[in-house]
């Protein structure tokens, strides 16, 4: 083991559902317990907590639990903690934890992301939706024009790919169909019914070229990843997975001022931090809050040329579970649920440990890449089983 490196040790996940009634703190507890159990750690050995985006007081459904609250609720004695949205997207919380581990500030960090948007929508009295009649800051440049969702902002980048590079709906569909095929093999996945190309092609449009099946849906769940220091691995009973490289980027905060999505700078930077190459990657877990983002990540991580992402996944065989580059083997966010970034790192660890069950990829995978975000903010992690 490499003493100065950071590893992902325990991983955990709550039930994944819609309109769950279990309190979000308890969903988080479920995921923490599973991660501790897997790592063979006790809560007393945890001395760090990291989360994204912290407690979202303006709209609790988006992020109902913060790091401060979890530390207090579980009686954690933390020597380091962080929680905020002003980082390079969701998995930036893992980058922060790994950085703190490198610096020797903490030994075992609970990194978590809890989402409660479906429950919040169903219980507006408990979880009032954000007010939109008066807008300021970031929202003022989008909301007055009906561009209320990241679907609209992402769709405009997708439309450029359609017009410049000939991206087709049939190509976009491969992300949704692949995710759904894999979700059907994942007992915890949110959506486990089959999806056909005909269903996809006849789905209603959300924001061209994105249809209903190109967009993830509100989910209630919690995901936990424990980041541990290389010199603390003797305390851990599971197979540690090394964080071999990390990269993140921020583009213009106002999406409409950015010429390129931040995934491109992130992907290029990732390979500067490692001797591994794209051809070494056994599986890619690529953020697909919208299908198009997974295509841009394939390009950004240099699995194919910029503009070639659509043709790279044509027909879907290459990215299928038994293909040369299996992606989103838990279903992605489109099939597995909107775990908001953390699901991709969770699944990379599952696959590298050979714990995928029916969805386990063949060939004893050793290297996986996982990503979050992609628009103005993006993070990529390269994970390796030594």
């Amino acid at each position: 083991m490499r003493a100065n490196q950071a590893y992902i040790t325990g991983i955990g996940q709550s039930q994944i559902g819609m309109r769950l009634t279990r309190h979000p703190l308890l969903l988080t507890l479920d995921a923490v317990r599973e991660a501790l159990y897997e790592a063979g750690l006790t809560i007393g050995q945890i001395d760090g907590v990291s989360t994204y985006p912290g407690k979202a007081h303006a709209y609790l459904g988006f992020s109902p639990i913060g790091a401060d609250e979890l530390i207090d609720a579980l009686g954690i004695h933390a020597t380091w903690h962080a929680g905020g949205g002003e980082i390079t997207s969701q998995l930036g919380a893992v980058v922060a934890a790994a950085t703190a581990v490198h610096a020797g500030l903490t030994r075992h960090v609970i990194c978590f992301r809890t989402v409660y948007e479906a429950a919040a929508l169903a219980r507006p009295k408990e979880y009032p939706p954000p007010q939109r009649d008066v807008v300021e800051g970031f929202s003022q440049w989008f909301a007055p024009f009906g561009a209320l969702s990241a679907a609209n902002w992402t769709a405009q980048y997708a439309m450029r790919h359609v017009k410049r590079y000939g991206l087709t709906r049939e190509q976009l569909a491969q992300i949704a169909l692949t995710g759904r095929n894999n979700a059907m093999l994942n007992p915890r996945a949110l959506v486990r019914e089959p999806l056909t190309m005909d269903q996809y092609m006849s789905a209603r449009m959300i924001s061209t070229p994105l249809c209903l099946f190109d967009c993830d849906r509100y989910t209630d769940a919690s995901t936990v990843l424990i980041v541990s220091a290389g010199n603390a691995l003797d305390e851990v009973s599971c197979k540690p997975i090394r964080i071999a490289a990390m990269a993140g980027a921020v583009e213009r905060h106002s999406w409409d001022q950015a010429e390129w999505m931040a995934c491109y700078a992130t992907g290029a930077d990732l390979w500067k931090h490692t001797d591994y190459k794209p051809s070494d990657v056994d599986t890619a877990q690529l953020y697909d809050g919208f299908s198009f983002q997974a295509i841009t990540w394939l390009e950004a991580l240099q699995f194919c040329e910029v503009g070639e992402g659509g043709r790279f996944i044509e027909g879907g065989k290459r990215i299928a579970l038994n293909g040369e580059l299996p992606i989103n083997t838990f279903g992605g966010q489109l099939g597995g649920g909107r775990l908001h970034g953390f699901g991709f790192a969770h699944e990379a660890v599952v696959q590298l440990r050979g714990n995928g069950g029916e969805r386990q990829i063949a060939g004893d995978p050793q290297v996986a890449v996982c990503t979050s975000g992609g628009g103005p903010l993006a993070t990529a992690l390269l994970l390796a089983r030594d």
């Binding site: 008066v134 003022q140 024009f145 609209n152 769709a155 405009q156 959300i206 924001s207």
Partner: protein, 139 residues
């Protein structure tokens, strides 16, 4: 989407020292973008500092009000019940202000008639003190 249909549902920006010129300039038919008095760069979203040279000698300046559709999407989703769909959301590259894009709506034509590269001109939709800059195709 004909002009005005979404008017009742447009959220209003909260005016402050930095954004007022942008949101109120339409009262005089002017599209105003913050500009640096030292290096002449445009700054959008408007702020009290130039992001190119860090000067604080910045002030709003009228631009021609024409531009090119950089990209767009046709929105079909009713994000709230009162929303009238479909309508076009576009990102317009402004003439005379290199690097500045506006998210806006393209009005006055069918949604199918909009494409990347189309030339457009600003038109303002007013709600009290706020004048939303929308764009129409230049035929």
């Amino acid at each position: 989407m004909p002009a005005g249909e979404m008017a009742a549902t447009r959220p209003k920006p909260r005016l402050d020292a930095e954004n007022s010129a942008f949101w109120t300039g339409g009262a005089h038919g002017r599209l105003q973008i913050m500009r640096c008095g030292d290096c002449s760069s445009y700054i959008h979203p408007p702020r009290a500092v130039c992001r190119t040279c860090l000067s604080d000698n910045v002030k709003p300046e009228a631009v021609p009000g024409t531009g090119v559709i950089d990209t767009f999407t046709i929105n079909y989703q009713k994000w709230h019940p009162a929303m009238k769909v479909p309508f076009v959301i576009a990102r317009v590259a402004l003439d005379g202000a290199p690097g500045v894009y506006l998210t806006t709506n393209i009005i006055g034509c069918s949604v199918e008639a909009v494409d990347i590269g189309d030339r457009v001109r600003v038109t303002f939709e007013s709600q009290g003190a706020i004048h939303f800059p929308l764009f129409e195709k230049i035929v």
